[in-house]
């Protein structure tokens, strides 16, 4: 039982006054001292160890009244009230109220039935407002996410630029993009072309023509005997742009500077973290050497090819 304010305080020999304040320990959250108002002779601070018993309205001390009177007077300035300081959880431990503090309960609230029903009704109202918004908001956000594929042929240059067999040559080209409300813009892109030797060609096609299909329909077929290969400029590891570089050990290779994936002239992975070979694009080379490709892009980082553009 915690001591109460206004409780009488009795020493071994006689009653000396009443509890006027209570001092808490901020760490243990326990009452550490009582302050006793000594019937007109000031206040004394008494540690809880000096308390023998605590009853409803009486605090019994071990010491005699003369010992208590001999204590130094209580110094208020050494303390702050619990309202002026932040000590987490302190309020939960204080039970030294002089009694209940009450306010009247409003007439209209006294006999309200179905409080739980009304509480739950607010959730229902919330759902009633929120749920119909989910689908429109989702569709609103998803508007540009799934655009149809673009199978236009793009002219990217003349094959005369490719001088040597099995050597990567970069073709830069511009692609017009019309995005939502934006004015039509040109983005710069690039593809790597290889004039493949029969050995490299065999490695790429393994005796079979390569079909590009969309929704079950064949868009284009790269013939196995056409020696020109076009690789998408996007590294199949994580989508950076790779280069044709000289490697100390592996010779001339495609090298991606991001995560150091290395591919040979046929696009096969020689080293590094790439999960699949470079992505071949549909290519046409006309009689006068004009190169056209379909500008496809594939998802990076996957073992199988997934076209996204």
């Amino acid at each position: 039982m915690q001591p109460q304010l206004k409780s009488k305080v009795r020493c071994a020999d006689r009653e000396v006054g009443e509890v006027s304040r209570v001092i808490m320990d901020p760490l243990s959250h326990e009452v550490s001292h009582l302050v006793v108002s000594m019937n007109g002779t000031g206040e004394r601070q008494i540690p809880m160890v000096a308390v023998q018993t605590v009853a409803d309205d009486l605090v019994q001390l071990w010491s005699s009244s003369s010992e208590v009177l001999g204590l130094p007077p209580f110094k208020r300035d050494d303390y702050v009230t619990v309202h002026e300081v932040e000590i987490p959880g302190l309020e939960r431990h204080i039970h030294v109220t002089p009694g209940e503090v009450l306010v009247p309960f409003p007439e209209l609230e006294r006999n309200v039935k179905r409080r739980t029903f009304f509480a739950k009704l607010t959730y229902v109202m919330g759902l009633f407002i929120g749920l119909p918004l989910v689908f429109p908001v989702l569709k609103f956000m998803m508007k540009p996410m799934y655009a149809p594929m673009d199978n236009r042929w793009l002219k990217i240059g003349n094959i005369g630029k490719v001088k040597f067999n099995d050597t990567g040559t970069q073709f830069q080209y511009k692609r017009t993009v019309k995005e939502a409300y934006m004015p039509e813009a040109e983005v710069e892109k690039n593809a790597w072309l290889i004039k493949a030797s029969p050995a490299v060609l065999e490695k790429v096609y393994q005796g079979k023509d390569m079909e590009f299909r969309e929704a079950g329909k064949t868009i284009w077929t790269n013939k196995r005997d056409v020696p020109y290969l076009a690789f998408s400029g996007k590294c199949p590891h994580l989508g950076c742009a790779y280069k044709w570089r000289k490697h100390k050990v592996l010779g001339q290779v495609f090298l991606c500077p991001c995560h150091l994936s290395i591919y040979d002239a046929s696009g096969q992975v020689l080293d590094g973290p790439a999960p699949r070979p470079l992505d071949l694009l549909p290519i046409q080379v006309s009689a006068n050497g004009e190169v056209q490709i379909i500008d496809m892009e594939f998802k990076a980082g996957t073992k199988s090819q997934t076209r996204i553009v």
Binding site: V85, M182, V187, K189, P257, P275, K299, A300
Partner: protein
């Protein structure tokens, strides 16, 4: 007022205004509650990082709002408007560079703050929820970095985003949707810029303010943990209030951060690369330094192939995040002294060392690429 020597019984206008407000909202009590928070064992320099983060966030908000007076989030004007801020607007170079280096300061202080809490064992009961909300705030800071990076629309911005979103694509089941959702399409473009912009300047700040408020509220509910050594009597003897000693230390810390970030902004101002394009020329893509360690470990042979990539970019970071999230719930040992928690100490050292190692090796690797 009793302790201020006033002339006669006259009160000044300022005092009258103060009393007016105090009468209505209890200002004195509120201020007292805010400042008179017991710090068990006394104030310490090690406790400054939380306050520093709040300070950095405020500075990022101020500089960010200022930048928006000129910045235009469109694919055809983002780069030009950023260059305009850098080269034409008075002190634009400083504000943009301050904002740029401020993000680095944020990451450094988040790491320091989390390390302090971890090493002091301050995440343990009854402070589990503070830790959990703190982790969410950490994720927000990284998201701020990732989304802010795209906005200048230069090559660095474009490629860091391209690779970053490809990594998000590797999340199981939802990856493709998330990546398209962020990009607003299959490839980065205007939709991506719009989305990153609104996430950076509206969504993340709103969430961060809410969660930071919750973080502080939970902190005030549980109170500061104090040092991990010392008996209750010793701690009580050294206990002081948040004001003035801890606030003084926090204020010095803020001045130091402000000085460092300003110095970096002054001597290493932001220089943009060429405008973003899907054809980077000779540019070698690389993320901001605080993402370098992830970038570098994706280069490892052991993380090659589709599965390796999933392991390195989603599974391992995800497992670490879940581990940290659950840490206060399975680490029930009340011992807070880091020198009596060998696994915690070793774990922290190993993680910190490997982040440093991968970051440094990514920097060294640069010179082999040209």
């Amino acid at each position: 007022m009793s302790d201020t020597p006033s002339i006669g019984t006259q009160t000044t206008v300022a005092e009258k205004v103060f009393d007016f407000v105090d009468e209505r909202v209890g200002l004195k009590l509120l201020t007292a509650k805010m400042l008179n928070e017991s710090v068990p064992g006394g104030s310490r320099w090690a406790y400054v990082f939380g306050s520093l983060l709040l300070f950095i966030f405020i500075m990022q908000s101020v500089t960010g709002v200022l930048l928006m007076f000129y910045y235009v989030p469109t694919a055809d004007h983002a780069y030009a408007s950023t260059q305009y801020i850098l080269h034409d607007v008075d002190y634009g170079w400083f504000l943009l560079s301050y904002h740029f280096w401020g993000s680095s300061a944020m990451v450094v202080c988040v790491f320091a703050h989390m390390s302090q809490v971890f090493l002091w064992g301050a995440y343990k009961k009854p402070r589990e929820l503070i830790w959990v909300v703190g982790l969410a705030l950490f994720a927000l800071v990284m998201a701020f970095g990732f989304t802010g990076y795209l906005l200048p629309w230069d090559l660095r911005a474009y490629w860091a985003t391209t690779v970053g979103v490809e990594i998000i694509d590797k999340v199981p089941v939802l990856g493709d949707f998330l990546a398209r959702f962020l990009k607003g399409g299959a490839v980065p473009g205007q939709m991506t810029l719009s989305r990153f912009f609104v996430i950076h300047v509206m969504v993340l700040p709103a969430v961060l303010i809410g969660l930071a408020g919750l973080h502080l509220f939970l902190f005030r509910c549980a109170g500061p943990a104090g040092p991990f050594r010392g008996t209750p009597t010793e701690l009580k003897a050294k206990t002081d209030y948040f004001f003035p000693r801890q606030i003084w230390k926090d204020a010095v810390g803020m001045a130091v951060v402000f000085g460092c970030v300003s110095a970096l902004a002054f001597w290493e101002p932001v220089v943009l690369l060429d405008e973003a394009t899907p054809d980077p020329g000779d540019y070698h893509p690389e993320p901001e330094w605080y993402f370098l360690f992830i970038f570098q470990h994706l280069r490892l042979k052991m993380f090659s192939g589709e599965f390796g990539q999933f392991l390195a970019s989603i599974a391992l970071p995800g497992a670490l995040a879940i581990f940290l999230l659950l840490l206060p719930f399975f680490d029930r040992n009340p011992e807070r002294n880091i020198f009596r928690r060998p696994f915690a100490l070793i774990g922290w050292v190993v993680l910190t060392a490997s982040i440093l190692l991968f970051t440094v090796s990514a920097i060294i690797n640069r010179s082999f690429l040209d």
